[in-house]
């Protein structure tokens, strides 16, 4: 189908874009990569009166490290993030997740900020942001503010970003030295949305005991979810079979993923268990390997 008519503006500065959005009084929508919004408009599920195209605003793009933190401009293409040396070296969980986001042709256009603002329950980037304890910067004519990932995702496709706000950057703090990470998902085809997935970041001490753990599930609930009980169970322990089984049980006991043509709720729950187990096992192993390498180097 074809989208309904709309007005279009492509401002060159953030200030102009914010003004246009404010003036549209709720009838305006930001378009970034358009890889989620345009299908919605083609189906006429979304009918914005004004599209504010943020792709021509230079300050919204680019990947940099600032005060040790990773700062990804909102309109940075997912494909560029995938190729980034800064991300691959410092935030490997994001690098591991990015190839699972849609197909190359979609990542060439889709943006990091757009994925976060869209807040699909199965979006890889959202789950990584939550697992790393990151945050977003948003701006409006009223001012700028930061939103912690833990306060950002409130429902399926719903965030705490207001209609007159533009997400300007995604910010991720540096993981502690010796952190191992892993990302696993099940999808019908490479590039399809995940039926279930897990992102894990684990820091271990010299004896292989967990100091810090972060586990996030995607596709298991209306938003990506951090699994605090499982994380707490891991801290202070080595990853024995019993510890892993208990952590996975704690992580998945209360999930009720939706049933649809792609998979039943029961199947998705089992898949989530398996993905959590794989992600944790690999993250522990990588942390141990990293610790070994740093010992050798010193």
């Amino acid at each position: 189908m074809k989208p309904p008519p709309f007005d279009y503006t492509a401002p060159r500065s953030l200030g102009e874009a914010l003004r246009a959005l404010a003036d549209a009084a709720g009838d305006g929508k930001v378009i970034a990569g358009g890889q989620s919004l345009v299908p919605l408009m083609n189906f006429r599920f979304a009918r914005p009166g004004l599209l504010v195209d943020v792709n021509r605003i230079p300050e919204l793009t680019g990947i940099r490290r600032r005060d040790g933190e990773l700062r990804i401009g909102a309109t940075t293409r997912q494909a560029d993030a995938e190729q980034s040396g800064i991300i691959a070296r410092g935030w490997p969980l994001l690098r591991q997740a990015l190839p699972h986001v849609a197909h190359q042709q979609i990542r060439n256009r889709g943006t990091v900020g757009g994925s976060v603002a869209h807040a699909d329950p199965a979006a890889e980037i959202c789950s990584v942001l939550l697992a790393y304890g990151g945050r977003v910067e948003v701006a409006s004519v009223r001012g700028v503010r930061e939103i912690d990932a833990s306060d950002l995702f409130v429902g399926q496709f719903v965030t705490t970003i207001e209609a007159d706000e533009i997400l300007t950057a995604v910010v991720v703090p540096p993981p502690p030295a010796g952190t191992g990470t892993a990302f696993h998902e099940v999808a019908r085809r490479h590039g399809d949305f995940a039926l279930a997935g897990a992102a894990a970041a684990v820091t271990t001490d010299d004896r292989g005991r967990c100091e810090r753990a972060s586990l996030c599930l995607l596709g298991a609930a209306p938003t990506p979810i951090r699994r605090a009980a499982a994380e707490a169970h891991l801290v202070g322990n080595e990853l024995t079979d019993a510890v892993l089984a208990e952590a996975v049980a704690l992580a998945t006991a209360d999930i009720e993923p939706p049933s649809d043509v792609h998979g039943s709720s029961a199947y998705r729950t089992r898949a989530a268990r398996e993905m959590a187990a794989r992600a944790l096992t690999e993250a522990f192993a990588r942390s141990a390997r990293d610790r070994g390498q740093r010992k050798e180097a010193s």
Binding site: F6, I31, P39, I63, R64, Q83, Q105
Partner: protein, 181 residues
């Protein structure tokens, strides 16, 4: 609104409504019907073209968004060779990489930049590279063969392969660390 682009090496301009999809702009304004439209939701890949050297879905872009950009469609492949087939097209013909041909332009435009950045001969790597394109006829086996064949032609025979042409495409779209500052 006025849209001015470089289309397959030549300037092209038209006045269109903001809601005109790039796929429709190419087919109905520029009258280049090699770009096919299947789903208009990003899923099938038939509409894949290249904007500024990168393979993208033309059904998920509004024409006004690419004002000032360089757009390449499947017609460019043989136009640039005075009507002769591109090695990738030759390989699809040779290996039965198509039957009805509806999906083929999307496969070609997706694969051309992928092949320009390096050989593609491993089965899994080929299957990953074509995962964003659906074919309802071939069962993919012929397409996988065609990609391997094209990769061998392009990367092993400098005379046939015109790696230089393809290479310059790659430079327009620097991949490695492009977003880093």
């Amino acid at each position: 609104m006025r849209v001015e682009i470089n289309l397959n090496g030549k300037p092209f301009a038209a006045d269109v409504e903001p809601r005109m999809l790039l796929s429709d702009f190419i087919r109905h304004e520029a009258c280049l019907t090699g770009t096919h439209v299947g789903c208009e939701q990003g899923g099938c890949g038939a509409c894949t073209i290249q904007v500024d050297g990168r393979a993208v879905r033309s059904c998920l872009l509004f024409a006004i968004q690419v004002d000032g950009s360089t757009v390449r469609t499947v017609e460019a492949l043989s136009d640039e060779r005075d009507g002769a087939l591109h090695p990738l097209q030759e390989a699809f013909r040779e290996c039965h990489g198509l039957q009805c041909g509806f999906c083929t332009p999307g496969f070609l435009m997706s694969l051309e930049p992928a092949l320009a950045s390096g050989p593609l001969d491993d089965e899994q790597a080929i299957r990953d590279a074509i995962s964003g394109n659906i074919c309802r006829c071939t069962g993919y086996a012929g397409i996988v063969d065609a990609v391997r064949h094209a990769s061998n032609t392009i990367w092993n025979d400098p005379d046939i392969g015109t790696v230089d042409d393809l290479g310059s495409l790659g430079e327009d779209a620097p991949r490695s660390g492009a977003g880093d500052e």
